[in-house]
Symmetry: C3
Subunit: 180 residues, 3 copies
Amino acid sequence: MFEDIKAIFKNDPAEKGLQWILYPGLHAITCHRYLAHPLYKAHLFFLARFVSQLNRFMTNIEIHPGAKIGKGLFIDHGSAIVIGETAVIGENCTLFHNVTLGGTGKHTGKRHPTIGDNVFIGTGATLLGPITVGSNVKIGAESVIIMHDIPSNCTVVGAPGRIVRLNGEKVDIKPERTKE
Amino acid sequence: MFEDIKAIFKNDPAEKGLQWILYPGLHAITCHRYLAHPLYKAHLFFLARFVSQLNRFMTNIEIHPGAKIGKGLFIDHGSAIVIGETAVIGENCTLFHNVTLGGTGKHTGKRHPTIGDNVFIGTGATLLGPITVGSNVKIGAESVIIMHDIPSNCTVVGAPGRIVRLNGEKVDIKPERTKE
Amino acid sequence: MFEDIKAIFKNDPAEKGLQWILYPGLHAITCHRYLAHPLYKAHLFFLARFVSQLNRFMTNIEIHPGAKIGKGLFIDHGSAIVIGETAVIGENCTLFHNVTLGGTGKHTGKRHPTIGDNVFIGTGATLLGPITVGSNVKIGAESVIIMHDIPSNCTVVGAPGRIVRLNGEKVDIKPERTKE
């Protein structure tokens, strides 16, 4: 939780003094880390989901109790975020409001994205399917990434998302759908 | 309502046991079917709207009391969904979060979409205007469909939405704005 | 506030009688104008933010207490709207749900958009950065405008947003990123 608070100070230019205690993003993550996810791991699925839905009601951020979240996550604004059951998020990531880490409806088992470390996901970006996003990735606002992986050290923009920067060089790569 | 519950089990791979009673989508549809819409039909418009706004507050799903919804609707996640007053939804449809069935602001009277049966509308799709969407249609995440109809038995993706599959064949059709 | 109510009647074809008193958009604006923003101007930042977060919880509309909003604003539906700290909105504007007037994360100080008078911003439009949007502008649903200005008297659609009408003439202009 201390790492999550540090993440707010590192990332938010509007933060003044003690306001971080009001952030719904922090509330949602804390509730998930210390209540919903432990209940899920203890196979108390109904109770875990109940806590998660209460969390959604209070913060408007929907994190399925099964999602695995690394330390130092910063959720800014957070409205209408959906993070699916089998999603995995690495360390020191930033999620803006309206981001979806969801499924396509065609898969069972692992069906949501796995995100690396130091990943920034802008407002309204939609990532669907059991894909893998590398580390040190920036995903622009309103990008759409469906059923293909994203390498490390790159910037993705657009719908469908194109890689416009890779290992510090300007590029223009349209990733192929490598998964069905 | 029984049909709505069956729709959850048919569509949601994360569903475990009794969790369906926690789903805001089910709450929102039930409240609309048995309270808001009947009040609207009884011309108790203010009360109907009050119930609908309370429904929005509790579930973050906004269904205007005038909207007509067929049986077996499944709303997944649901945050920030907006369904307009003159919208019509057929049977056995699926709506993800952030879907808008809205108006363009230029029309009066019938000004929201009419959706057929077995229609799947992905995350963040936006449908505006008094358009008609056929049956057995799949509308991809983040698609935008403004002021044109969509035929039956097709798949639509992109912004603006293109028909990429029609009657089982791959196609690439950019629908023309057939309405003003 | 009277101007805000007039704006509802002018813009909403679904409005019937007294329903305006139920509109979350009106609640959010009133709370911002008469409570959150005055507290912010009095440098009571924590209290201002607390009111703003409460406002977000009640209405699902997030207006930073620092945002400056001209008279006669109409917010329709409103779910998941985010208006940043240094955003400025002129008179007689309309905002639909899911609109973001946000920052890019790269700036400090003035880092959110300035919007002119009589501007219509459709569902899900995303405007990021310390940009200026002129007056009498219509921004289409799901448009994305990042780090460039928009002139007066025009219509913008698409992602990235293109100017398709300017001073009454049909055009097709892709604005350049004039800012870094």
